[in-house]
């Protein structure tokens, strides 16, 4: 079962997100798919740069021999914050969109939008 590791699962998750973006017309599901992609990226960064048996770079690590690479983890804290911001902003915009167009469907909203032009 060596194939079930963080790396391959994260790539799988990433493309699950991409599938959701392509195949779902619901805007909330699109936003959820983007969140799934972001989680996949975070999982990739953290798991791909960790050697088996190493410990996270937190607390007193002076005695430990193997410590995981701290840089990806630091980067991913930034990415988690960005991810929350992106989700919050897009949900806010979605609520406004829903109030104006009364639909959650990309296709229907596009048709209604073009009527305004």
């Amino acid at each position: 079962m060596i194939y079930i590791n963080g790396e391959s699962i994260s790539i799988l998750l990433f493309f699950v997100g991409v599938y959701g973006l392509i195949a779902r017309r619901n805007i909330i599901k699109s936003i959820m798919s983007i969140s799934i992609m972001q989680v996949a990226v975070i999982l990739y960064f953290v798991s791909a740069n960790t050697a088996p048996g190493s410990i996270p770079p937190i607390g007193d690590i002076a005695q430990t021999l193997q410590v995981a690479d701290p840089l990806p983890q630091a980067l991913m804290i930034t990415d988690i914050v960005i991810g929350i911001g992106v989700t919050a902003a897009s949900l806010t915009m979605f609520i406004h969109l829903y109030h104006r167009f009364r639909s959650t469907n990309w296709q229907k909203i596009m048709k209604k939008r073009n009527r305004y032009d």
Binding site: L21, I31, Q38, V41, S90, W106
Partner: protein, 533 residues
């Protein structure tokens, strides 16, 4: 000692502090600040030109560990251009009533982020800056709260976030293989790698995102909606089309330089640029909305720039970069004048606007000068850069392709130019704001000066000597006049009465289709690279 980080920090700090001052004082302070920043950036540029690249490690870390800012000649020329355009825009909005505290905060933050992208030397940093810029631009293009604004904004936002997720995934894979995020450490590290196979996936992920940012052929459908939306103030459209798209091209250029020893895709991207240019002008011809026409013409010009920088020929490369600068000038003029025309005539329909020359003389002159720039008329800046790209491509099919693209651009702008002539039906000339007129006239005169002093400007900006050979330039100009005649005939014969391309507008890509095209582009790049290497 010149500090690069202040150039990035100062606009955003001023944008925040301006909230405390009354808006009328704040506008004057911001305009003065922009002028001062321009002087400071010029100083940086002169320093880089004399003493070479400036490298600054923030936080005093050793090289390649901390965040580094790097101003080389290209980056400092780009920030010079950004500061100049932002100064022009700040003066332009001086008397507008939509320019309040929030607008200036967002606008100056956008300036900071754009300068940050140009100076940044670190891939993750660029990712963060682009994400933040995406959010700010989303708010800015919805600023006038028109009915369609929220759809355009959400669409722009989500598409760009998806693209940046691709970028970050590629970044993760690259970091796993190479272990650095710094551009120049990356360059050295990549030159040690023997097998390009292991880098295909990260490269494909990243180049997909960057191609979307630069609006290449299958991935440009988000651009016209964002740049031409009715709810965006014209300064925002001008900055987006003139400057912000260029950050995509800039990152593309940096990535290509870093990867070029291993994965050389310049031929593929030259062809993609060609297809983009053709598709751009065909779609532009189909539009009847003033701003959308200009937005699609941006797509077409980006194709020309991509051809120039991917031709593998130094003359064409510098020609492409000079065209990038020129495009920033004339496209922002066109968007600003379009905004003035729209607010005067209260319509965005190209057919309903007539007699701009008679009704708004200054705007008419500025429009005609920048149109002459974009179609590459003799003595204007577009002609120099297009000439350089064409002479770099001489002897290949792309030389004829460029003539075709220029013919398309001419037909598009003959169609656009119809709004200048005729009678507006209004008696007196419109009283536009004096500052607005001054800004558009200055920018359009720059189009002319950029043509007259073309090779000198290139020598100053990029430190390369390119001479314009008089004989071949004259031949190019004869070709240009031929294209003008042909363009007039095509316009009169095919497009004057009816819009024969209007059916194209019914093929509009929705969100899902755009995501599909991103995925297909990604798959195409992976398969192409697997076969080619």
């Amino acid at each position: 000692m010149i500090n690069l980080h202040w150039v990035i920090l100062l606009p955003i700090i001023l944008g925040t502090v301006a909230k405390l001052i009354s808006i009328n004082t704040a506008k004057k302070i911001i305009a003065l600040f922009q002028a001062a920043l321009l002087v400071y950036v010029t100083q940086i540029f002169v320093d880089v030109r004399k003493n070479g690249t400036i490298l600054e490690n923030i936080g005093g870390w050793p090289d390649t560990i901390g965040i580094t800012l790097r101003a080389d000649l290209l980056a400092s020329a780009m920030i010079l251009l950004s500061c100049f355009l932002f100064l022009a825009m700040v003066i332009f909005v001086h008397n507008k009533n939509y320019a309040d505290h929030l607008f200036f905060f967002l606008f100056l933050s956008l300036e900071s982020l754009i300068i940050g992208i140009f100076l940044s030397n670190d891939l993750f940093n660029i990712f963060v800056l682009i994400e933040a810029a995406t959010l700010i631009i989303t708010i800015l293009i919805m600023y006038k709260k028109a009915n369609v604004a929220i759809y355009d904004g959400l669409m722009y936002f989500l598409i760009n976030v998806v693209a940046m997720s691709f970028f970050l995934m590629g970044l993760g894979m690259l970091y796993k293989k190479i272990g650095v995020l710094d551009f120049y450490a990356l360059e050295t590290a990549l030159s040690q790698v023997k097998d390009p196979q292991s880098l295909i996936l990260p490269y494909a992920f990243m180049i997909t995102a960057v191609s979307l940012k630069a609006a290449l052929m299958p991935l440009f459908s988000w651009l016209p909606k964002a740049h031409g939306t009715p709810s965006a103030p014209s300064v925002v459209s001008a900055i987006l089309s003139g400057l912000y798209v260029k950050t995509g091209i800039y990152v593309f250029l940096r990535l290509q330089i870093a990867f070029s020893p291993l994965i050389d895709t310049s031929e593929l991207f030259m062809i993609l640029g060609f297809v983009t240019a053709i598709a751009g002008f065909i779609l532009a011809l189909a539009q009847k909305d003033i701003k959308l026409l200009l937005a699609y013409s941006t797509v077409s010009q980006i194709g020309v720039i991509m051809i120039g920088i991917n031709l593998d020929n130094p003359v064409a490369y510098w020609g492409g970069l000079y065209h990038l600068m020129n495009h920033a000038i004339f496209k922002s003029t066109l968007f600003l004048t379009a905004g003035m025309i729209i607010s005067e005539y209260k319509t965005r329909n190209l057919n309903e606007v007539n007699g701009v020359f008679e009704h708004m003389p200054a705007v008419g002159v500025a429009t005609i000068l920048s149109i002459l720039g974009i179609i590459g008329a003799p003595l204007f800046n577009g002609s120099i850069s297009k000439y350089l790209i064409a002479s770099g491509s001489s002897g290949t099919w792309i030389e004829y392709g460029l003539i075709l693209i220029n013919l398309g651009t001419i037909v598009v702008f003959i169609k656009y130019g119809q709004l200048l002539f005729g009678h507006s039906g209004k008696k007196e000339t419109a009283d536009s704001d004096i500052l607005e007129k001054a800004v558009v006239l200055t920018l359009s005169i720059l189009c002319f000066l950029g043509g007259i002093f073309g090779s000198q400007l290139i020598a100053i900006l990029f430190n390369v000597d390119l001479t314009v050979d008089l004989r071949s330039y004259v031949i190019k100009m004869l070709l240009f006049f031929g294209s003008i005649l042909l363009g007039l005939l095509i316009y009169r014969g095919l497009f004057k009465k009816t819009n024969r391309l209007a059916f194209i507008n019914s093929f509009e890509l929705g969100f899902n289709e755009m995501c599909l095209s991103i995925t297909l582009f990604f798959a195409f790049i992976v398969i192409y690279l697997k076969i080619a290497f």
